[in-house]
């Protein structure tokens, strides 16, 4: 365990040191993370304003709260590993990783977290600034705030595991772009990024509940907004745990198969 901590620490240092070079990509990344929820915030606020001040169970100001919180939660749980993987397999960079006596996922997790340590504060500043503009209503009870922390951690782990596993499709096909795209669309609709899930027809909500996407993003958002009862919160954490196990199982199976394929063909 000590060694793992040491490894993460070193990886953090390495990412920080390299990050100066990647300022521009970080900025681009943040712009799209801000712009998308902002656009939907505006769209739904407009609908709400012309619709008598609310749509479904959200008032105009609650929409603002929803999308600003979504902005941050999405950012916290976001991964970009799918793009990297294809590049790695193509350039044969996996050989270096496979020679090491540690699992390559560790450096990716560390890289992800350390990048966000820099970008998250800035995102929070932007979100707060936008908050002054759009007057969100966010009033969660204290227990919801407290339970949001494990919910966020679990959300990140579930999302990371699933997306890392998905990224390994690069071992089997070069059409990774198409796979990624389908995945992104599913996430977009079923995690609550286009609209709060309660605004969707019932059957969509059920599907979203069965699939992991709501638990990756939508659930922590709803929790932070204080829109869930304690029972619902517990159920949500439970769903996250289930998906964590499923994700981990998938991850191990796919990784072993992926390495076998890679080792059969080589780099």
């Amino acid at each position: 365990m000590n060694n793992l901590w040491d490894l993460y620490l070193q990886q953090f240092k390495t990412t920080f040191a390299s990050m100066v070079q990647y300022r521009a990509s970080l900025v681009i990344w943040m712009i799209s993370h801000v712009l998308e929820p902002l656009v939907y915030l505006i769209v739904w606020s407009t609908v709400s304003l012309t619709g008598g001040g609310s749509v479904g169970d959200y008032t105009t100001r609650q929409f603002a709260g929803y999308f600003l919180v979504l902005m941050l939660v999405n950012h916290v749980t976001y991964t970009w590993i799918m793009y990297e993987f294809e590049y790695r397999v193509r350039e044969g960079m996996f050989s270096v990783a496979l020679l090491k006596p540690v699992h390559p996922i560790h450096s990716d997790i560390a890289d992800n977290i350390s990048s966000k340590l820099i970008t998250l504060p800035m995102m929070i500043v932007v979100a707060v600034g936008l908050g002054f503009m759009f007057h969100p209503v966010i009033a969660p009870p204290v227990w919801a705030l407290a339970s949001a922390i494990p919910a966020l951690v679990l959300a990140f782990m579930v999302r990371f595991l699933l997306e890392w596993t998905l990224a390994q499709s690069a071992f089997w096909t070069t059409r990774v772009g198409a796979i990624n795209q389908i995945y992104f669309v599913l996430v977009l609709f079923l995690s609550g990024q286009i609209a709060p899930l309660t605004l969707f027809p019932k059957f969509v909500q059920i599907i979203a509940g069965v699939l992991p996407f709501r638990w990756m993003i939508g659930f922590p958002v709803e929790l932070l907004l204080g829109r869930l009862s304690p029972e619902q919160a517990w159920a949500g954490i439970g769903a996250q745990l289930v998906w964590l196990l499923v994700g981990y199982a998938l991850f191990r199976i796919v990784w072993r198969a992926g390495v076998r394929i890679y080792s059969a063909v080589g780099a």
């Binding site: 521009a24 990509s25 900025v27 681009i28 712009i31 799209s32 712009l35 998308e36 656009v39 505006i42 769209v43 739904w44 407009t46 609908v47 012309t50 619709g51 749509v55 479904g56 503009m133 059409r175 772009g177 198409a178 795209q181 389908i182 669309v185 977009l188 609709f189 286009i194 609209a195 605004l199 969707f200």
Partner: protein, 261 residues
């Protein structure tokens, strides 16, 4: 005209090159369809709760989405690949080959690369647009069609000039391609009528990254809400930006040739 001949030649070369990658057709088709379905589904969700969005009815917004894809396809077909290649060629010095040719360099760099399968986006956008117009019924007349075409052309010229200025920055700065990526992210905002956005955003999307002129404005032309001021403004801006971009290009070229050995 010489320009047209050159255009044709470059187009042909690019197309022949692309035809070797037939799979790319299907990939692009898939990607474009997924994007379109996403946009339409988003529209469906929004309009299940309302009949009007900032004064735009569903079919008008649908027309906007059509324009969005159509123009996106145009930009992706010619502007983006060429400008991307320009930045590369400044960086690795292959611009020299282009400069050695006996044709106007700006023309050459602007048509040197074509992403042929973006035609799919254009076709899809056109399809959506037509559907929307049919549903709008008799509201589309000759004046609308004409002003739409003019606005579309003006918009494309504006975007082209904008991209050229950005690409020309690579004469002075190194990591310019990242800026082009920002455009992609910001372009998404063009799927909704600009009038929805707060003032500062409208300003940014009109004058800083001029997306309004290629999406909302042409759509306004078609839906009969285009004002004469906007029309004139767009045309003037197109002219000004085009001239400006040519000037920046010239200065940059001098900079490049001065420093390259």
């Amino acid at each position: 005209m010489n320009y047209l001949r050159l255009l044709f030649v470059f187009f042909r070369v690019n197309v022949l090159g692309e035809m070797a990658y037939r799979a790319n057709f299907f990939i692009q088709l898939f990607q474009s369809m997924v994007e379109l379905v996403t946009a339409l589904l988003g529209l469906a969700v929004v309009f299940s709760y309302t009949n009007t969005l900032g004064g735009w009815n569903p079919n008008e917004v649908l027309a906007l989405v059509g324009v969005y894809f159509l123009v996106g396809g145009l930009i992706g077909l010619v502007v983006q690949p060429a400008m991307g290649k320009l930045i590369e060629s400044v960086r690795d010095g292959t611009l020299d080959f282009t400069l050695a040719k006996p044709e106007d360099a700006q023309l050459l760099v602007s048509i040197q690369r074509v992403e042929i399968w973006k035609l799919i986006d254009i076709v899809l956008g056109f399809g959506v647009l037509t559907t929307a117009l049919v549903r709008l019924g008799e509201h589309v007349g000759g004046w609308e069609a004409l002003s739409f075409t003019v606005m579309l052309l003006a918009g494309v010229v504006i975007i082209y000039s904008f991209w050229l200025i950005l690409a020309a920055l690579s004469f002075w700065f190194v990591r310019v391609e990242n800026i082009l990526e920002i455009f992609q992210s910001v372009y998404e905002a063009g799927r909704w009528p600009i009038s929805l956005y707060p003032g500062w955003m409208r300003f940014a999307l009109t004058f800083i990254i001029p997306i309004a002129f290629v999406t909302t404005v042409p759509a306004e032309a078609l839906t009969g809400r285009l004002t004469v001021e906007t029309l004139a403004g767009a045309v003037v801006l197109a002219g000004v930006l085009f001239a400006l971009s040519r000037a920046v290009w010239r200065v940059g070229l001098r900079q490049y040739s001065g420093t390259s050995a």
